[in-house]
């Protein structure tokens, strides 16, 4: 048991190193360096300098060292929590990420809670009367939702609710002069601004999770496995909670581990469209400005958070399920 936990942690550590190397190599594996292989304007200003100045700048950013030395140096800095300075405005990357983290986490938390609250009853109802009208309808809707890109959904929602009906604001987080409103009015204002982004962030997860809940309930609570329980006269509620959801909790752990990458991808698109100052729009801005330190910092943070989620989910599995514990490797 303890051996299993240690083994999982060790392999997680290996993956962590691999992830950090990937994040670094992705951006630095190119021949040349950020100073000359950037966009054409950068190239021009750098090439106008004298050779000595060029060498000086290279040395300043340690670009004159071989790749593995630069990786080691970068890793040391990252381990100390130093993600470097933004190319764009010379501010520490950590500071830029820190001031936007709250917004993104807040919106995603609302979206996650909403997803869970809607997916459980939707999936449960579909499993309870599988093959019924609701099951078939929700199945078709879910199938369509999978294929709808978030940016298209966002545009259509904007057109319907903001332009045609004028119920909700087009973008941003607060209205002009929103700071002067009373507490209640400000809350309503915030909710109106968040409604469309939250819908766009949650419908994909809702589709996935509701089908997932349906499948695992069918298997454990309403399927053949529970035939004997039903024959003994076990009621629907008991079937659902004692047989179904308990079994479904385990695979859901694995799912939770992979929530982070989906959230980040979603935030990049949704925050960009609705002009919300969060991590996603920071990433888009950094990408368009070729701000390599910010891009790398965000990539690293997302992947490390994902890895922590995945390893935590595996450890939870290990603790909860004796079968996994006995299986080798």
């Amino acid at each position: 048991m303890i051996l299993g936990v240690c083994r999982r942690l060790a392999s997680g550590l290996v993956t962590l190193l691999l992830v950090s190397w990937l994040a670094f190599a992705l951006i630095h594996a190119a021949p040349g360096d950020p100073l000359t292989s950037g966009s054409s304007e950068d190239e021009r200003w750098f090439l106008t300098l004298t050779t000595e100045h060029q060498a000086e700048i290279r040395a300043l950013y340690h670009l004159d060292e071989p790749l593995h030395r630069r990786y080691a140096r970068w890793l040391q800095d990252v381990a100390r929590g130093d993600l470097g300075l933004s190319f764009h405005d010379r501010r520490p990357v950590r500071e830029k990420i820190g001031e936007r983290l709250g917004t993104t986490l807040g919106i995603n938390l609302v979206a996650l809670v909403l997803t869970g609250l809607l997916a459980l009853p939707a999936g449960g109802l579909a499993a309870w009367r599988s093959g019924g009208a609701w099951d078939r309808l929700s199945g078709a809707v879910v199938y369509a939702l999978y294929a709808i890109p978030a940016f298209w959904a966002a545009l259509l929602l904007q057109i319907v609710f903001s332009v045609k009906l004028q119920w909700l604001p087009l973008y941003g987080l607060i209205s002009d002069g929103g700071e002067r409103l009373g507490i209640l009015a400000r809350l309503v204002d915030r909710a109106a601004h968040l409604a469309l982004p939250v819908v766009c962030l949650s419908y994909g997860g809702l589709a996935y999770l509701s089908r997932f809940v349906r499948a695992s309930l069918l298997e454990n609570a309403f399927g053949e496995a529970s035939r004997s329980a039903r024959a003994r006269g076990v009621g629907v509620a008991r079937l659902l909670f004692r047989h179904g959801l308990r079994q479904a909790a385990l695979p859901m752990l694995t799912l939770a581990g992979f929530v982070f990458p989906a959230l980040m991808s979603g935030s990049v698109i949704v925050e960009t469209i609705f002009s919300i100052p969060g991590l996603g729009s920071l990433f888009t801005e950094a990408v368009l400005q070729r701000d390599v330190p910010v891009v790398m910092g965000l990539t690293l943070i997302t992947s490390v958070m994902t890895l922590v989620g995945v390893v935590a989910a595996d450890l939870g599995y290990l603790l909860a399920d004796p079968r996994v514990r006995r299986a080798p490797g």
């Binding site: 392999s11 993956t15 294929a147 298209w152 960009t272």
Partner: protein
């Protein structure tokens, strides 16, 4: 299972194939016919709503939206198919090595898969395109994007192939082949791969859809295929600037994108049901 029922094609496979076939036809036949219209600027009919002369309306420069949407099919399909092909090219050998050799090779490949899975593919693609390494810059736009998507999209292929190989490796199939004196390359090529290929091809079909979506997302953000080349993601990106005046700019390119992805997913799902009838019978 009643005899004969296994041969009937699932409805999803037929409808998915029909959608993809139609898109393929559009990409090959219709795109050259409307190419001129797609680029012709007409400042007299800027942002005109759909009517007889422009069935899907016009954009901010008076270009015919219908022609531009039709042209987008070619880029989307090319990028999607190439990205899926590339992920097969990377994923197949890695999956075979991990699943057949096991041991240390399996550990290495599995760690790599886990590492790549941890970085969202949109983030990897954007980071790669932002860093603009020189070897990428020399390629034409669509090739560059297909390459980036292939680099990020190979993990499901490798994972499924590895799982299939692990499952089949213990089976009588392999044991008897080995007893007959077949060597490893022969076992892999003649016995394991043909049996394991079905789920991999299903995965590839879904990869095409996912790649089309990612390409559109990249073009939407502004790092995909550069304008004025019409792509569905790029058209939607332009629609953002006219969102309060021209609903058709947002509706039709998105609809095309939605149909293409839906077609890929239906095709993949149908193929899975066809190749593995057990999963189709399940409620």
């Amino acid at each position: 299972m009643p005899p004969g029922s296994a041969r009937r094609l699932p409805a999803s496979l037929v409808s998915g194939a029909a959608v993809l076939l139609a898109l393929g036809l559009i990409a090959i036949v219709a795109t050259p016919l409307v190419r001129e219209d797609a680029y012709r600027v007409d400042l007299d009919s800027i942002l005109s709503s759909p009517d007889w002369s422009h069935p899907l309306g016009t954009d901010g420069l008076g270009r015919d939206l219908g022609a531009r949407v039709l042209c987008g099919a070619r880029i989307s399909l090319t990028v999607g198919l190439m990205a899926a092909g590339l992920s097969l090219l990377v994923g197949l050998p890695l999956g075979v090595i991990a699943g057949y050799c096991g041991g240390i090779a399996d550990r290495i490949v599995s760690r790599c898969v886990e590492a790549v899975l941890c970085i969202p593919s949109l983030v990897v693609a954007l980071a790669l395109l932002a860093a603009e390494p020189r070897w990428l810059g020399l390629l034409p736009d669509f090739l560059r994007i297909a390459l980036v998507l292939g680099v990020t999209g190979w993990t499901p292929v490798a994972r499924y192939l590895r799982a299939e190989f692990l499952r089949l490796g213990e089976s009588d199939l392999v044991v008897s082949a080995r007893a007959c004196g077949a060597g490893s390359p022969r076992i892999v090529a003649r016995h394991l791969l043909p049996s394991a290929l079905a789920p991999v091809l299903v995965t590839a079909a879904f990869t095409v859809g996912a790649s089309i979506l990612l390409e559109a997302a990249l073009s939407f953000i502004g790092l995909g295929v550069a304008p004025p080349t019409p792509t569905w993601g790029g058209l939607l990106s332009e629609a953002r600037y006219h969102v309060s005046r021209a609903w058709w700019l947002a509706l039709f390119p998105g609809l095309a994108l939605f149909l293409a992805v839906l077609g890929c997913n239906l095709f993949g799902e149908g193929m899975r049901d066809f190749l593995d009838p057990r999963s189709a019978r399940r409620p």
